[in-house]
Symmetry: C2
Subunit: 137 residues, 2 copies
């Protein structure tokens, strides 16, 4: 039997992040199990609810570190709120403004034609498609 959270631990080490108690706690919530979209506040509630002692500032720090290390993707769909996506493969999103919910769209589901050449001195870092939804009345 392998140790339970060995994988998370390795992911952190590979990313150059020490496997501290709070990073492991957040890593367990984010890096195992199904893909999810979380805000810092949601994740803080969740980790507190699990009986772990982690400050909101550390949740922010950790989300930013994970994102910098490529373990998460940040998604910006509303000014004033950041979502973090545990699905780091290239893909797109539905965003429902009325409910604030995000849903993944596979990259292949929206074939993109050629992207225009970027301006001189820049290169393309990523292409994201957001399909905004409204509730039908």
């Amino acid at each position: 039997m392998t140790r339970p959270f060995q994988k998370v631990c390795e992911q952190l080490r590979d990313a150059g992040l020490r496997p501290t108690r709070q990073r492991m706690a957040l890593g367990k919530l984010l890096l195992e199990g199904a893909d999810r979209h979380v805000t810092a506040e949601q994740l803080h509630q969740e980790v507190i609810g699990a009986g772990m002692q982690v400050s909101l500032a550390t949740v922010y720090n950790t989300l930013n570190q994970f994102t910098g290390a490529g373990l998460l993707k940040e998604i910006v769909v509303e000014s004033g709120r950041s979502y973090f996506d545990t699905n780091i493969s290239a893909h797109h999103h539905f965003f429902c403004e009325s409910t604030g919910s995000l849903m993944d769209i596979d990259a292949e589901s929206i074939p993109l034609g050629t992207i225009p050449a970027p301006p001189p001195g820049t290169e393309i870092a990523g292409v994201e498609v957001i399909v905004r939804l409204r509730a039908t009345k």
Copy 2:
């Protein structure tokens, strides 16, 4: 000779907005001339610099009203900062994270394949593509 700002005035009336002094001042900056991307703070500086007396709160109110009336589009590319685009036709954007600058991409330049059907109870309100750029070193 036609009166200079008649067109802006009509646009406001058509949108159901009274052509007040400050809305006219902002309308002149936004609704005539070339397409542009502005933040509330930038626009406030600009209108103040032009010698007009307009509060920041009014700039925010007006940007939101113009957006609601379809005279502007709001673009979200960074959490914590909203851009407003005077180009209201369907189109996409380059966004350079290092400089914070936005550039338009014609809708035809990025042909989108079929968009997956939206979840039940929702309909597509819009599709936006953001091509994120980084500076080449």
